[in-house]
Each structure stands twice: as C-alpha cells, then as structure tokens.
C-alpha cells in the first residue's frame, strides 16, 4: 500500500484526537465512583452522604469530645457544625495541630452505624492555613462573632 505524507499526517491527527477523547472518557469513568465528596455534619444528618463511599467530613472538633481508646492508638471524637454532630473514629497518630474546638477535615467513610471511620485527618498546618472548604465557614463564624460584639 502506498502511504502518502498527507495520509500519515491525517492518521497522526486522528490518533491525537483519539488520545484526548480517550483521556476524557477514562477520567469520567474513574471519577464516577472515586471522587470523594465533601460533607458537613449537617449534610450527613440530612442523609445526603451514602454509607461506605469515600468522602471528606469537615467541621469543628467538639470541645470535650476527644477520647483515646484502651489500645492507645484509636481516637474517638465528635465533629460538629453548630447544628449537627457526627461521631468519628480514627486509628493513627493525630496531626500536630489537631485541637478541640478548632477546624478539621477527616477523610474516610461513613460506617453502617452512622459513625465516620477516618483514614486520615487533616488539620490546619499553621495558624494562617485553613482548608479552603472550611475557609467560608470560618469567615462566617468570625463575622457572626463580630456582630455579636
């Protein structure tokens, strides 16, 4: 078969387009059940989050709720957002800036008994850092306090 430069160029263009299309389809397939949605305790109380799906839970650590289990490495605490509360269990070393009464984002799954099993806890890295998901909440919180004063 005689291949001409024009044909080769056309074939390359088609291949490139196929690669881009392939990437989009593959990404859509991958994202369908692997994107972790961000929920607040209020969302979970409202039943928006499905049991067993990877997700992130964000809110404030309820004061006085942090308990260490007998094994010394499992921690239980409650994440709240003013109205609703979600109990969380986490097996691991808590990040340095994990504090009662301050912001936290937990990565993990909702168990059948409606407790949140966290694989990973993200706390703010320094006093200037705030996970963007919590940024708005914190700003609103601050604004509310200023108004109260």
């Amino acid at each position: 078969m005689m291949v001409r430069p024009k044909h080769q160029r056309l074939a390359l263009v088609i291949l490139a387009l196929a690669a881009v299309l392939g990437a989009v389809l593959l990404a859509m397939w991958g994202l369908k059940d692997r994107a972790a949605y961000f929920y607040t305790p209020a969302d979970i109380a409202a039943g928006k989050a499905g049991v067993g799906k990877a997700m992130r839970l964000g809110g404030m650590v309820l004061k006085g709720s942090v308990r260490r289990e007998a094994d010394g490495v499992t921690t239980r605490f409650v994440v709240e957002d003013g109205d609703s509360r979600v109990p969380v269990t986490f097996r691991g070393i808590l990040p340095d800036l994990f504090r009662e009464g301050s912001g936290v984002v937990a990565e993990g799954r909702l168990a059948a008994d409606r407790t949140f099993v966290a694989d990973n806890i993200l706390a703010k890295h320094d006093e200037r850092y705030m996970p963007p998901e919590l940024g708005n909440q914190a700003a609103e919180h601050k604004a509310g306090q200023t108004l109260k004063r």
Partner: protein, 635 residues
C-alpha cells in the same frame, strides 16, 4: 534602600521586556534590523531580575523588618540558612524566583543559541519578552515582594516549621529551573512557527533546552517526593496532592516532548506534533503555577488565598495559551508534511509513547482540576485523590513501561527484523517474576505484582540498546537514553516493592517494651527532651535489631515557638535492603507513647531511579555540550 533597589530593578526589567517585545516584532516584520539590540535587551533584562532576587535574599539575610514580606515570613532568631531560604518559602518571593528564572532563561537563549536561524531566534526572544512582561506585571501589581511596612515590625512572624528543612533550600529552585526553563521550548516553538522554520535544525537547537529543563524537573520532583516522605511523617512518597500533580503534568508533557523532538531532529518527522507539545509543556507549567499560587486548592503549598492573584494568573494563562494555540492553528497548516515512517518503527514507538503520556497527562489534568470545575459549575465540594489516580494512571504507566522496553530496539523508518526475538529474555524474566509474585505475595495488589514483573523485565531491557556496541564509540545520547530508561525501571521496582512488601505497625508502648515489625525487633528505650536552635523536642530512643547489631533511631516531636507549632520528625534508618521508618506520637495518662513503624523493603530505589533518570539526561546533555565545544574549537 536595598528593597528600593530591588523594586527599581523589577520596573526597569519590565520596561526592557516591553521594549524587547516591540523591537522583536518590528524585526520579524522586516521593518527594522534589531537583532543585536533584542538579544542585548534579553540579557540585561535577565540580569536585572537576578539583581532584584539578590536584593530579596539580602533583605531576608539581614532580617529587614521594614519589608512586609520579611516580617510575615521570617524571624530574627532563626538559623541563617532558613532566613535566606525563607525568601522563596512564601508567595511573593517564590514568584520573584519564578520571574528570575524566566528572565535568565531568556538571557541564556539570547546568549547561547547560535544554531537558531536569526528570524526564529528574535521571534522566540519576543515571545519570551511577552511572557516576562505579563509575569512582571503580576509581581508589580499583585505580588510585590518589596512592599514596605511603616513603622517596621518589632519582630517577624517566623517561617512555617515544615519548611524549616534543608529541602527548602534545594527543592523549589530546582523545580522552578525545570518548570520555567520549559518557557524556552515554548518560545522557540512560537518563534519557529511565526518564522515558518520548523525543521531538523530547529529541533537540534531546541533539544538541549528541553533536556536541561527536564533534568531539573526530574530532580526537583524526586527531591520533593523524598522531602515529603521524610518530613510529613506519613510514610508515603507520593500523595497525588494537587501541587505534586502541578509538577508532574509539565514533566509528563516535557517527557513526551523530549522524545518527539528527537524524532524531529533525526528524521524530520512529527513537526506540528512537536511544536504542539512544546506549547503544552510550558502551558502545564503555567497551569501548575496557577494551581499553586492562586491558593484555591487544599495544600501544604497554598500560602494564602487571594482571589485577585488567582484571577491575574488565570488571565495570563488564558492569554498566553490562547495566543500560542492561535499561532499554532494559523501556521501548522503551512508546515510541510514530515518524513514517512512505517507502523512498526522507532518513530511509531515514540508516537505511541507520546500518545500514552498524553492520555496520562489528560487524566491527571482532569482529576486535578475536576474539584475546581465541580465547585464552580454546581457548587459541589469534592476532592480527587489516590484511588482515582492510581486506578486510571497506574495501568497506563505499566503499558508505557512495556513500550519502553521495546521502543529503543526498533530502527528508524521501518523495522525489518522480528522484534519479539530481541525482547525474549526480558519478557521471560517478567513472566517468571509475575508467576513468582502470584505465589509469594498473593495478598498484594494486582498493580504492584505487575509492577514488579515489569521491573524485572525492564531492568535488563533498558540496557539492551548498549549490548554489542563499543562502549567508547557509543554516543553519549545513547548512553543517556539507556541510563534514563534504567532509572525508570529502577523507580518502578521501588514503587512496586514499597506497595507489595511494606509492613506497618501502629501501637502504644511503655518504655522498655518491644515491638515486632517485619524482620525487626524494636525496643522502645524511652523518651528524653532535646533542644535545637529554635525548637524544643521530645525525642524517643528506639533500638532496632535484626540478627546482630543495634540500629538506634531517634524520632522527635518538635515544638516551635515562632509561630507556635508542633511537627513530627521521623527517624529513618537506611539500609541496602530498605528503610526502617519510625514516628513518635503522643503520650497518654498510662505512660504509653504512640509509635508508628514501617519496614519498607527497597523503597530507596524510587529516588535512586529518579536520580538515574536525571543522570541519563545529564549524559545526553553533555553530548550536546561536547559537540558544541568541538564546533566552537573548529571555528
């Protein structure tokens, strides 16, 4: 005074880049002979950026608290090296470093690229000046690193302790040299398309720039991965954090470009394709800059959230990418078709490599940006992490690995001999390794089994192109290719071994207790206080034994005062067979301390592989240098 001089230099550099852009436009249109002036302007502009950056280092070294940036990010009681490195451990300073590298890249292009045709070179310098102009404007109007405080702050706020690490001195500058070094390939491609001179000569002139940027990018990513590994104390070496992806995406594009530019140089094929990749590679650098510097993503690297900055970089990105694509769309049709090749040939292998890298780049790009799009479009907050990236990019990377074994053995234009015979031995090794993996480590993931099998075949296959050649007569580029491919194989081996063989233990222990981890018995001897220059710490003593000899590890929890922060300092013992990785957590009322231990066989191969890839690049680059030197001597 110093800050004022730095700021003045930035304004002057901005003015010169505007002038350079204007003159190069006139030159390319044939209105004016401005060849030497444009080159001189590019060099002076680069030096002015360097001067401004030196001034920033100086105000940080002196802890000049009348400069807002110093007051925000430094502290008088800090080790000297971190005072200086703090200059780029923040948004404004790192953007100045970015612009400095951009300026110096333009200067280097003007000073060193004698092989480019004059019209292409001047058009490329014009493109580089256009880039510089936009990012200068960003610095001066939205991120002035030299803004003053009146009155000066009494004391600085200090640097994030996670950044107080030798890694900060090395990782960002290296990464930026790679990131921004790709701007040269971008500018050369834009210049060549404007001048209509896309040929082998151009590819030969472009290749060392791509290679240089790619080496820095490779080393920067490798260093960043190791830094995150030991500093974060999570035992992982790649988290698919948006900021890591921001550096991976230009690397993927640059890797594709590096291969296709070789085809253009050797065979005069893949012309438009190569130009497109050059545009995409630097566009990915700008996307990365946007992701990191706009602070819209959750990340350790997100210094501050400022909508103005995000929109500014997004606007620059949109302008440059649109302009480059427009030039491409208008000029690509005028390029002559490239040389022919058969479906089984070296060229076709590299096309397949490029397609796979493009698909990987595409899925990483979509996965990284999807959270932003979802939030902007439907207000849905979500994150995309390792499960997605491993599932979609992992298998593609394995296919790419198979191709890596076969591709270099193919000959240019058409392959006449049966190729399967050549890769029979590596193929057999891989198959054997796969069978062993199924029996020996049935519980490990499919991806890690396939990865181990691939590495077993790929390590010998990478060296096959060197077999049967006289080592002294083999071109440095061939050596470089073999070493870089070997590095990729070694890194795959490390990644797969880490996933398949790592054992982890999380426990709470009292002093005197023993913990088993893999082949190790670790005795927790107790904790003692420790003191550093600007921190205090609780330090555990762990005595690890495996057969004979005691390895002592001392993980710490450090407390910094400015700003008040705690960090975990992992203690890592490196052996030939792997790493023992230990972290100490908190104590409880019963006198127990949380300990987290990992035994990670062969994990160091990951970074050793990264270094080998960089070394391969250096060998190939020194081949270019060697030829340039000979040409220069001959003149």
């Amino acid at each position: 005074m110093i800050a004022g001089a730095g700021l003045a230099a930035l304004w002057l550099a901005a003015a010169l880049s505007l002038l350079g852009l204007f003159l190069s436009f006139l030159h390319v249109r044939g209105r004016l002979e401005a060849d030497r002036t444009v080159r001189a302007l590019a060099i002076v502009q680069g030096l002015l950026c360097l001067f401004a950056f030196a001034m920033l280092l100086l105000v940080f070294a002196r802890t000049d608290l009348s400069v807002a940036l110093v007051a925000e990010n430094s502290h008088s009681a800090k080790p000297f090296v971190y005072k200086v490195a703090a200059a780029w451990g923040n948004h404004e300073g790192s953007m100045l470093l970015w612009v400095t590298v951009l300026g110096l890249s333009g200067a280097a292009l003007a000073a060193l690229s004698h092989r480019l045709p004059s019209r292409t070179l001047i058009a490329a310098l014009g493109a580089q000046a256009a880039l510089a102009l936009g990012f200068h404007a960003f610095l001066l109007f939205a991120s002035n690193p030299f803004a003053r405080l009146n009155p000066p702050a009494p004391e600085g706020r200090g640097l994030n302790p996670l950044l107080q690490d030798p890694g900060l001195a090395f990782h960002p500058p290296t990464l930026y040299l790679g990131y921004v070094g790709l701007s040269v390939a971008f500018s050369i491609a834009v210049g060549a398309m404007l001048a209509g001179e896309v040929d082998r000569q151009l590819a030969r002139a472009m290749r060392p720039w791509v290679l240089g940027a790619w080496i820095f990018l490779t080393l920067g990513i490798t260093a960043g991965s190791y830094w995150a590994y030991y500093e974060l104390g999570w035992g992982g070496w790649w988290f698919w954090d948006p900021v890591e992806n921001a550096s991976l995406m230009p690397w993927l594009a640059a890797t594709a470009l590096l291969h296709s530019v070789a085809v253009l140089a050797a065979r005069n094929a893949l012309k438009a394709w190569t130009m497109m990749l050059a545009v995409i590679a630097f566009s990915m650098s700008m996307v990365g800059t946007f992701l990191v510097r706009s602070g819209i993503l959750t990340s350790v690297h997100a210094f501050a959230v400022d909508p103005l900055r995000g929109s500014f970089i997004l606007a620059l990105l949109a302008i440059y990418v649109t302009a480059a694509f427009l030039i491409f769309a208008l000029r690509a049709r005028t390029l002559r078709e490239g040389a022919l090749f058969e479906p089984v040939s070296r060229e076709a292998g590299i096309v397949a490599n490029n397609l796979l890298l493009t698909v990987i780049l595409g899925v990483v790009f979509i996965g990284t940006l999807y959270p932003l799009l979802a939030e902007a479009a439907v207000g849905e907050k979500l994150s995309v992490g390792a499960p997605y990236f491993n599932a979609v990019a992992g298998p593609l990377a394995l296919v790419l690995g198979v191709l890596l074994a076969v591709g270099p053995l193919l000959s240019w234009r058409r392959e006449g001999r049966p190729i399967l015979k050549k890769v029979a031995l590596p193929g057999l090794l891989a198959a054997t390794a796969l069978v062993i993996a199924f029996f020996a480590i049935p519980q490990s993931s499919m991806l890690s089994k396939l990865g181990l099998a691939l590495a077993a075949g790929l390590i010998p296959a990478a060296l096959l192109p060197l077999i049967g050649r006289n080592p002294l007569r083999t071109p440095l580029a061939t050596w470089g290719m073999a070493i870089a491919h070997l590095g990729a194989a070694v890194a795959v081996a490390g990644m797969a071994a880490d996933t398949a063989f790592t054992t982890e233990k999380l426990t709470a222990a009292r002093p005197g207790e023993q913990v088993d981890i893999g082949p190790w018995i670790v005795e927790f001897a107790g904790v003692t206080p420790a003191v550093g220059p600007n921190w205090t710490a609780v330090e555990a003593e762990l005595r690890a034994t495996r057969g004979s000899g005691v390895h002592v590890l001392r993980p710490q929890t450090r407390f910094f005062t400015d700003p008040p922060t705690e960090t975990n300092e992992a203690a890592i013992d490196t052996l030939l067979s792997g790493q023992l990785y230990t972290v100490i957590g908190r104590s409880d009322s019963e006198g127990r301390w949380q300990l987290r231990l990992w035994w990670k066989p062969l994990v160091t191969l990951i970074w050793f592989g990264g270094l080998l890839i960089g070394l391969g690049g250096l060998l190939a680059l020194s081949g270019h240098g060697h030829r340039a030197w000979r040409r220069w001597m001959a003149q």
